[in-house]
């Protein structure tokens, strides 16, 4: 497993962390213009709150598509690290994408699932991960060789202390609290796309 791993953690025994703090820690760590694709809702809000980067892509809707979008970016630019930030509810909506990604084997793709067991922004209805479903186990079953729970903040730091363009696909799941996302939603889709494409050096004009 990735550096800092070694022990297989259980979802019932890991620390409850804070999404905004981990997102900030991740963004501070990025040194190679990694692409970051955030799913709708709080994954998005906390990425925005961590400070805009030209390599960030913010979704407005299309719940569940952060991982498929990230797969496309990863396949198009195999030398760039690509990170998808997704909530548990969104991930549950698109579990099939884990099977697709595992079989495509993009070495440069990392998925981070923020799991608070709740559809937090629609009224805190419980998700399946509040019950029996273990996202890390689902990813392993889908074919991810590298899939693990984040034990605590120090473990998260150790797990992201690597180059993101190799060693994947990786799925990391962190148990998080229910603090609402901090940033304001970006509302100009063509501008978001254009900045992202320029940030990836993919703009043709």
């Amino acid at each position: 497993m990735t550096k800092g791993g070694g022990v297989t953690n259980q979802r019932t025994s890991v620390a409850t962390l804070n999404r905004a703090a981990l997102t900030r820690r991740l963004v501070e760590r990025l040194e190679h213009d990694e692409a970051v694709i955030a799913g709708i809702g709080n994954a998005n809000f906390d990425l925005i709150a961590a400070g805009h980067r030209p390599q960030n892509f913010y979704m407005l809707g299309s719940m569940g598509l952060a991982c498929p979008i990230a797969l496309g970016v990863a396949l198009a630019q195999p030398r760039r690290g690509v990170i998808a930030l997704e909530g548990d509810g969104s991930m549950l909506m698109m579990l099939g994408s884990l099977a697709t990604i595992a079989n495509m084997r993009p070495a440069n793709l990392t998925i981070i699932v923020w799991d608070n067991g709740s559809y937090q922004i629609t009224g805190k209805q419980p998700t399946a991960t509040a019950g029996l479903t273990d996202i890390v186990a689902v990813a392993r079953g889908a074919g991810f060789a590298a899939s693990e729970w984040v034990r605590d903040a120090a473990h998260f730091d150790a797990l992201i202390d690597r180059r993101f363009e190799a060693g994947g696909p990786v799925l990391l799941a962190a148990k998080i609290d229910d603090e609402p996302g901090k940033g304001r939603q970006a509302r100009d889709p063509p501008l978001i796309r254009r900045r992202f494409m320029e940030g990836l050096g993919a703009s043709r004009d």
Binding site: G72, V73, M197
Partner: protein, 174 residues
């Protein structure tokens, strides 16, 4: 040249290299040809909206892409079109094998097929129904170029008039 050959060649002529697809009997020869051709990145998706997401990501990262699906699969992507492709101005090339008409045996297919063109119209997505090999290349090539030039999606509907329809249908029709 078959319609499948023409599609493959037109993709190449326009540097459309990532093909995301969900299986369909009519599309089978095209999906197979893409999978064995190193020019293409072939992504077999589990759902059509997943395929649209991957094609969108690839486009934004500089790799032109297309999505292959069946009529019933198109019915799964309205939200991906309305909240991703259209507002973000993604030139998604949507190739749809048309079922539900001209010799359909499955009532579900005939019903879901009726939602396709109204959905495209409602979202203002340009669409063409391809019926004839003689005009196929012109429509494909000009539509793909227009999509990338105008940052707009296009739906290319493959009619049974062009493809011969679902090869499995004959056994079911009375």
């Amino acid at each position: 040249m078959t319609w499948s050959d023409t599609l493959l060649q037109t993709f190449k002529d326009n540097e459309v290299r990532l093909i995301a697809h969900v299986p369909d009997n009519v599309l089978a020869p095209l999906i197979k040809a893409v999978a064995v051709d190193n020019y293409f990145v072939s992504v077999g998706a589990t759902r059509e909206d997943e395929a649209v997401g991957t094609a969108t990501g690839a486009y934004m990262a500089g790799l032109r892409s297309a999505v292959l699906m069946q009529t019933s699969g198109f019915a799964l992507i309205a939200n991906a079109l309305a909240s991703l492709v259209v507002p973000y101005q993604i030139p998604a090339i949507l190739v749809i094998s048309e079922r539900g008409t001209l010799g359909e045996f499955n009532l579900g297919q005939t019903l879901v097929a009726r939602t396709m063109r109204p959905t495209l119209e409602a979202l203002g997505i340009v669409h063409h129904t391809l019926t004839d090999q003689s005009t196929l290349r012109f429509i494909l090539d000009s539509s793909i170029k227009q999509a990338f030039t105008t940052q707009a999606p296009v739906a290319l509907i493959l009619s049974p008039l062009l493809t011969g329809g679902n090869p499995a249908a004959q056994a079911h029709l009375v």
